[in-house]
Symmetry: C3
Subunit: 337 residues, 3 copies
């Protein structure tokens, strides 16, 4: 895989300073790059590395222009430009060539111009858009549709009736459309399960991380809107709705029937309880618990600060006695407004 | 799939008010239902929707009888009745018809009247009860037994020797019988692993969520008793014992050798450390840490309240100094009894 | 599987007191063991069980020598000796014999003396060392290498280019080499993904738990050093580096570009944010949040203590008002040094 610097400049709409004809075959850090590779810097912090880099070319924000000493591509946002270029140096070829492949495809499935890996099983009335890749051992159950230019990695399960848009990326082991955790206690206090009749509907440009699980809705659907990015090992409960361009980091769990707005950033290992509404443009820091609706954009946090274990034992102990302490100190809530 | 209202009334032991002959082909919300669908209401909160619903019939608790304006099924618990009916409108047919299926089944396995999906691999001396469904690409290792009327979804791994009861539901990607996390440090501070020789034993009517993992026991077994419901992405450590009809929500982790009682409700993302005992009828709210045994039924909670980030920084900072604050205030523990 | 007591003594370098010729066919607890099984005790706490055990032999620390009443193997560390012996009584045979197996192996893959389960798919230029076992339905993508004497369990996905050392154990459903969660916002606040061009490099004697996910690096590699043990459902972000002989318990998440030292013990459900450095020999207790680098070995903790729900409501409420309380009490930070 080789691109001329001129071609790269076109891809990222950059101003090229230097030799447009040099050929670039990879991306590397300023420190490690060789003359056939391109690198990038996003701020003044990289100036030392920039002066000593052996990279064949560098992508720089326009404000760092004065530091150009090698072939340079000047852009507004160097990190965004790096993101764009990175896909051109990634190899996405299938693990096993098609002649060896032994996928099982129901004759009613529409899979024209779809690349299908070995061991895939594709059910009745499935529809997959052109240029989509289904990697090894994927299970695509009946009535599923997937848009064009999507990439479903190995060992993914997409259950009956779920709908995915265009340009979606589903990482290995993800499960889309599992039964919601809805159970009702009978008179003997035994749980009777509810069969979940809704679907999961996923928009365009959505990414789902490895081993993440998204439950189908009870009656209505679970909905992931366009441009949502979800990391690994995230749980999305039944009937959750996630607004456009929201990002959710790893290990987070969102319980049933909660709605999250647009452009939110939910940190890793955040627990969000059910039946809440979180408005647009909310940032929740990692490992916080969200147990109430959030109506105002802003940054929210809630976790116990890390301490030495001996310090934690004291702080934790007094914390559990705060109510009694305020009593003997005669502190009244009304005085704390 | 169509059922007469009379048939539905029989299934949920309801008093039918209206036309027993109408045919119902699905379930929907009061707002969205059409005349061929049934809906339900559980409380007074739904009275407005009830008055305007276009549903062909509704399931109501007896106390809402006066609001009947359409065909009605009166029951003691409308939510429980909905749960029962939901399974009759769920389609569970296999992704790929058997003629295309290419499962690999050891000749010593007993799988009479079992539906086996494409890509399943079934080991030596496996025994699966009648009417059980094994969906696509499941791995059922040697010596496993599974009771009748169970449903094992796609990409599930059940490892050697594990025992599952009747009417179990195992969601996609779950792993049952993985090695416990038992390691011993040698003199060089390197970890030497323990081979886990126990099994996982699972009772009847147990549900296990998608991508949940249950480790086998070290010497004795890990045991999940009848009627336990476990959500997605839950970790159950080696030698854990979970009592009858306990429910565990998503992202929760239970460390090795902990015993949990009957009818407990463990919220999502709860962390329970090892070697504890939790008695019957305990409720632990979501995202709490359980680091001590619980001997008394009740509701337990432990998480830092969500605040604005700027507020959290102040509260967290003072929290870490509580010990010093109580010292300068001359507050004594003995005065806080 | 049977071993003479003499053979077992050799395997664990023990002093044998009793009959070297007796044959042992399993391990069990002191209470449950029969005369054909061996058991062990690690401390004085087991003396009562030791006196009444029916085990054919027991492994004891030398200090418990005086309690020998049956055949005994005396060692320095009885728990370590048990760990060693446990592997000799574990059966690791493949689920399905090779004659039934239908793996798909690219002709360029080097898999001599490798045991390959049914349904495995092995890509181009893969190299697997001798005596390694690949269990059912594993996906080993192009250019992956795995060292000798490793054990890859069912339904594991190892993605393109990743490198694993010798004697590694990868539990079912683990994903190694998934895309990192790196996205850049464009001017419209939409996320543009970064293609991750680095690999995951895993050393020798590493264990990875069931359904754990390890992301590949952005440009450089994600690195797991020799002897690291990782439990189930752990997330390791892109470019994380984990030092030798560190252990990480279940449900923990480590965000991108964080470095963890050697011999650390990270408890379950710990959240570690990105771009931190944790030094060697650090212990982080379960469910703590690590949001700053740790430069000093020691034990660290941070979680809200478990309380009754009614007690928690009061403590939590006052906690959020600590700043105001200190104001009305006229407590100054400088007085708390």
């Amino acid at each position: 895989m080789t691109l001329s610097l001129e071609k790269i400049a076109q891809l990222i709409d950059a101003t090229l300073v230097g030799n447009p004809a040099i050929e670039i075959n990879g991306i590397n850090t300023l420190k490690e790059a060789n003359k056939h590779q391109i690198s990038y810097a996003v701020s003044d912090n990289y100036i030392n590395s920039l002066c000593s880099t052996k990279a064949g070319a560098v992508i720089l924000p326009k404000k760092l222009k004065k530091h150009c000493s090698t072939n340079t591509l000047l852009v507004d946002d160097a990190y965004l430009a790096f993101a764009t270029i990175s896909h051109h140096f990634k190899q996405y070829n299938l693990t096993v060539n098609n002649s060896l492949s032994k996928a099982i495809i129901d004759p009613t499935a529409i899979v024209e111009n779809v690349t299908i890996g070995a061991g895939c099983v594709i059910g009745k009335n499935v529809s997959v858009g052109s240029n989509t890749i289904l990697e090894t051992n994927c299970v695509i159950e009946d009535e599923v549709s997937i848009g064009e230019n999507s990439h479903i990695f190995a060992n993914v399960t997409i259950q009956r009736d779920c709908k995915l848009g265009k340009r979606c990326v589903i990482s290995p082991g993800a499960v889309i459309g599992s039964e919601g955790f809805g159970n009702v206690r009978d008179e003997q206090k035994n749980w009777q399960s509810i069969a979940h009749l809704g679907r999961v509907r996923i928009g365009d440009d959505v990414a789902i991380g490895a081993n993440t699980t998204i439950d189908r809705g009870t009656i209505d659907d679970t909905v992931i809107h366009d441009g949502v990015k979800i990391d690994n090992l995230v749980h999305i409960g039944h009937n959750v709705i996630i607004g456009e361009s929201t990002a959710i980091a790893a290990n987070t769990g969102i319980a049933g029937t909660t709605t999250i707005g647009k452009r939110c950033m939910i940190g890793g290992m955040v627990g969000i309880v059910g039946h809440l509404t979180i408005t647009d443009d909310v940032i929740v820091n990692a490992t916080s618990t969200v147990n109430r609706s959030i109506t105002k954009p802003g940054i929210y946090t809630g976790f116990f600060p890390l301490m030495t274990h001996s310090g934690w034992k004291k702080a934790g102990m007094w914390l559990t006695k705060l109510d009694k302490i305020t009593k003997i100190l005669k502190i009244k809530l009304k005085n704390l407004k």
